[in-house]
Symmetry: C2
DNA sequence: CCTACCGATCGGTAGG
DNA sequence: CCTACCGATCGGTAGG
């Protein structure tokens, strides 16, 4: 439905290689472009942050970026994909830890608060620039995002079975918990707010119900 | 600090009149422009939604808008200010209702979930286009937003005193509760999700601790 | 409220 | 990886 350039290349995931085997230098160079793009988008947003800006930081001309990236939208996709992959890895090690359901859910909440409050403007890019993805890239992102959500839903479900949280739709509960923590990027000011205290409050708010010996 | 046009007019709040007394027709016309701008920004975002778009919907030329509005940024401010005022009114009647602390906090949560899930794309404008405000307008918005936050903080505090929520920083708790509910605009799909069920889940998640007779 | 238009920005391409 | 450039968009202004 959405207008899409009818390119002659056959079938291919978003952002696959231009060369059959990208050289190491090529990949390194592209990584640094992705780094820079993230910084530019953090500071100026996706719309206002231009490819000229990105190129300038790297001492290049805009046209040169097109050797590494096929479009601005693809560059945004690279920024996203890399970050999501890293976040998923961290989250998976976290949920596979050998702990009680309650401890695991608490860890999930704490983790998300700490990560977001550590660099709120980073999440301005991830949470607010989503609509700018081309439909092609968007699907890819959604898949990984759903995995992220499922990890939270599982955390909630385990906890519910252990009797800490009562009968709530796990998907709704997961979205609510994620919302509670993610929203942090909208208001958290590292120079004024205390991430630890906030994490405590978040855990308290959701799990405070059961057995808390508040000190 | 931020670059600002050095205009010769003396002191004046953002968005004040051009005429000493704007005529009724003038105000009406401007309201319809604000209506339209909201629709355009909802559909295309602030950056991509052009003044040409807004004018076209109204059967006008872009230049004509400048009779009613001094800049695109001011138009965004008008959109915000009107919505915030309405939201504040609703919230204030809600919190002044004669109910127990627990009922009041529950009402706050329910209200926010219902409002946001009713029209998620509306909140895409309010929550994600904030950075586009001129510094001059931003201050005005912040003031009202803080009032909004305070109403939530009060709700949490009252509840804490009644013993439902334990010792949590009221401001953090308020932000967390607001985040939990506001985040809805990022994922809620009216054709798939159930706002009532979500509201239940949200109330449950925060207040489920005390006396719930889950049916 | 309109016609006409400016100045600037920007993504992307040609062609090397 | 660069120079040069196109085509389009856009906010805003002049002047009526």
């Amino acid at each position: 439905m959405t207008a899409k350039a009818p390119d002659q290349s056959p079938r291919r995931g978003p952002g696959r290689p231009r060369h059959e085997t990208p050289s190491a230098e090529f990949l390194e160079r592209r990584e640094s472009i992705i780094d820079t793009a993230l910084e530019v988008f953090k500071q100026r947003g996706y719309d206002s942050g231009s490819l000229d800006d990105v190129a300038a930081v790297l001492g290049l001309r805009k046209a040169s970026l097109y050797y590494y990236v096929r479009s601005k939208a693809e560059l945004l996709y690279f920024v996203f994909d890399r970050a999501i992959n890293r976040a998923l890895e961290r989250l998976e090690t976290l949920t596979s830890a050998d702990e009680s359901p309650r401890q695991r859910l608490e860890a999930l909440i704490r983790h998300q608060v700490m990560v977001v409050s550590d660099d709120p403007s980073l999440f301005t890019v991830f949470f607010d620039q989503r609509p700018h993805h081309d439909g092609e890239y968007e699907a890819e992102i959604q898949k990984k995002e759903r995995r992220y959500l499922r990890l939270y839903a599982q955390g909630v479900t385990d906890d519910a079975e252990a009797g800490v949280l009562t009968n709530i739709d796990p998907r709704y509960a997961a979205q609510l918990v994620l919302g509670m923590t993610n929203w942090t990027y909208k208001w958290f000011d590292p120079s004024r707010d205390d991430a630890e205290a906030l994490a405590d409050a978040a855990v308290q708010l959701v799990l405070g119900s059961s057995d808390v010996d508040g000190d």
